[in-house]
Amino acid sequence: MRPRPGDAGSAPRPPVIDARALDKVYVMEGGFEVRALRGLDLQVDRGEYIAIMGPSGSGKSTLLQILGCLDAPTSGSYRLAGQEVAHMDEDALAEVRNRRIGFIFQAFNLLSRASAVRNVALPLMYRGVRAGERTERAAAALARVGLADRLHHRPNELSGGQRQRVAIARALVTEPDILLADEPTGNLDSRTGEEILALFDAIHREGRTVLMVTHEADVARRTERIVHILDGRVEASVRVEVGAP
């Protein structure tokens, strides 16, 4: 395993994700509590390519939500790119999501009424980028994922793979610190899934930090490190051997 910051022989740069002792308790109807995370620690360096695996109920969805600043931990510390975000208010979290995080969902989550370029430009709008520049940057991001000729197509005029490419372009367009993908190939056939995974590989080679939740070992093996979550804790963090099948 690569040395972690704070360990002996610390890295020159602080990790982009530094989550310590994360607890998340859900109070259900009827008052009983569910502890989804139990003192979870996770550090991710810039440029890492990570798969998060775990059985359902293990807390991996909760972890992804907290890492994605969609939810706040009950206790613990989460520093994202050096900034403590664990206890921010909602609007501040919205801004962190907008500037630092790119989401890619299993169900793509595109706006069905808007063209590809407007879907991709959406996060730039929430950042207050002017319309002309938004379109330009969105078009560039779409070109990056190979959809330069599909700018004005609506989601229903695109194939599943193309839709996920639009979603990836939307996640990339803001130049986020981390990309979070939740089963990005779950709704795709295996060949299209393979194309999307190749795209993730390429994005990672450009130096981006990618965290991907998956339940497929094949998918996980393409990454550099597999984090296994069980019962709300990191059960194991395994480096994938380069050149592994």
């Binding site: 907008n98 989401f103 009424r113």
Partner: protein, 397 residues
């Protein structure tokens, strides 16, 4: 951002076209009702005022004071005294009877007036024939001038009644009159006063119906030339009659007074119709509320996504508010358009409305009301949308 929100609002509404149209119907009807009632009041007032001005004379109407039992009808000396002011006073007495021409029969009100009636009452205009002369009045000639309603009741369409004989039965007496003229229909504000009537010389009336006491007038119509100040004249009339008859034995009504009454009626009508408009706006607003809540629920995932991409509460609030306001604004504009159309139609169809009066304030009010409906009834659904938790929203199926 606002433009983009406006664009997604239009897209969302266009995506549910039927629903949007049904929703804005309520607002449309409300704005239509509010705008139409306000403008219709203004148009009616303008119509009445215009008619009165076209009358060409200022008028007073003198009656005994009904609250004072000692107050009696006016006599010739009263009329003579008033005539010296000078004003035009019409001596008039009426009887009711039944008119007959051949087999046609109709109730008729017979007015005995002096030959100066067309000068005093400028609404008297002749379609055929002539009015009677002073000489005919003096010698009590059996001649009559028919109102258009009387002509229609007694003669076939297109027939010329001038020169024909009409028999009039009043009580036990039956008298024959020669028709010498037919009046033009009353127009405009006075058309409600149209009835089957005939003018005969006053002396003829006295001679034919001895039961009518000579020189007693239950009311006196008075006209004054436009150059004179009506208030001065009114004061003079008041002084003359007070000296002759004593205070509180008469009432002087002016057209202004009638206008005030008319305005009161208009205001009440406006209030009633405006109330209906307000209720339909309320109902329309509840429709907006309902549809916006449905829209928020339907688009929960979209809201979650937008939040995940960095939309703050305020932006989501704005998006759904804009959607509600666009909906009501479109409804308002359609309602205003319909109102303007209805007003032109009303002016074309209703005789005493002359011109369409459309104050820009009325139009602005209509727009403001529609926007306000959107804001008031959009705020709650919009804030529900804005306060959705992003995870819950994303997970929503």
């Amino acid at each position: 951002m606002i433009l983009e929100n406006l664009r997604s609002a239009l897209e969302a509404l266009a995506g549910n076209r039927l629903r949007s149209v049904l929703t804005l119907l309520g607002v449309m009807i409300g704005v239509f009702a509010v705008t139409t009632t306000i403008s219709l009041g203004a148009i009616a007032t303008a119509g009445i005022t215009g008619q009165l001005q076209s009358f060409g004379n200022q008028a007073l109407f003198i009656t005994p004071n009904e609250d004072n039992p000692a107050s009696t009808a006016f006599d010739d000396a009263d009329v003579d005294a008033l005539s010296r002011i000078p004003v035009n006073v019409l001596r008039q007495r009426s009887v009711r009877g039944v008119a007959r021409v051949g087999t046609e029969e109709a109730p008729l009100s017979v007015n005995g007036v002096t030959a100066n009636a067309p000068q005093v009452d400028r609404t008297i205009k002749l379609a055929r024939g002539r009015y009677f002369t002073e000489a005919e009045d003096r010698r009590a000639a059996p001649v009559m001038v028919l109102s258009p309603d009387a002509r229609d009741a007694l003669f076939p369409v297109g027939a010329n009644p001038v020169g024909r004989e009409v028999s009039v039965t009043v009580g036990a007496s039956r008298t024959f009159y020669t028709v010498i003229g037919v009046k033009e229909p009353l127009t405009g504000a006075f058309s409600f006063a149209a009835s089957a009537s005939a003018d005969i010389p006053l002396q003829t009336l006295y001679l034919t119906y001895p039961a009518v006491t000579r020189g007693e007038y239950p009311f006196l119509p008075v006209t004054v030339s436009l150059e004179r100040d009506l208030r001065d004249v009114e004061a003079q009339v008041d002084a003359v009659l007070t000296r002759r008859r004593g205070a509180d034995t008469f009432r002087i009504q002016t057209i202004e007074g009638a206008l005030t009454l008319f305005n009161t009626i208009t205001t009440i009508l406006q209030a009633v119709l405006g109330g209906i408009g307000a209720i339909s706006l309320l109902v329309g607003g509840i429709g907006i509320l309902n549809i916006m809540l449905v829209s928020v629920t339907e688009r929960t995932r979209e809201i979650g996504l937008r939040k995940a991409l960095g939309a703050r509460k305020g932006v989501i609030l704005q998006q759904f508010l804009i959607e509600a306001v666009v909906l009501t604004l479109v409804g308002g504009l359609v309602g205003l358009g319909a109102a303007v159309g209805a007003l032109y139609l009303a002016v074309a169809l209703v005789p005493f409305l002359d011109t369409v009066v459309l104050s820009p304030w009325t139009l602005l009010l209509g727009l403001f009301v529609s926007v306000a409906t959107g804001v008031v009834f959009g705020v709650w659904p919009a804030s529900r949308a804005a306060n959705l938790s992003p995870i819950e929203a994303l997970r929503y199926e």
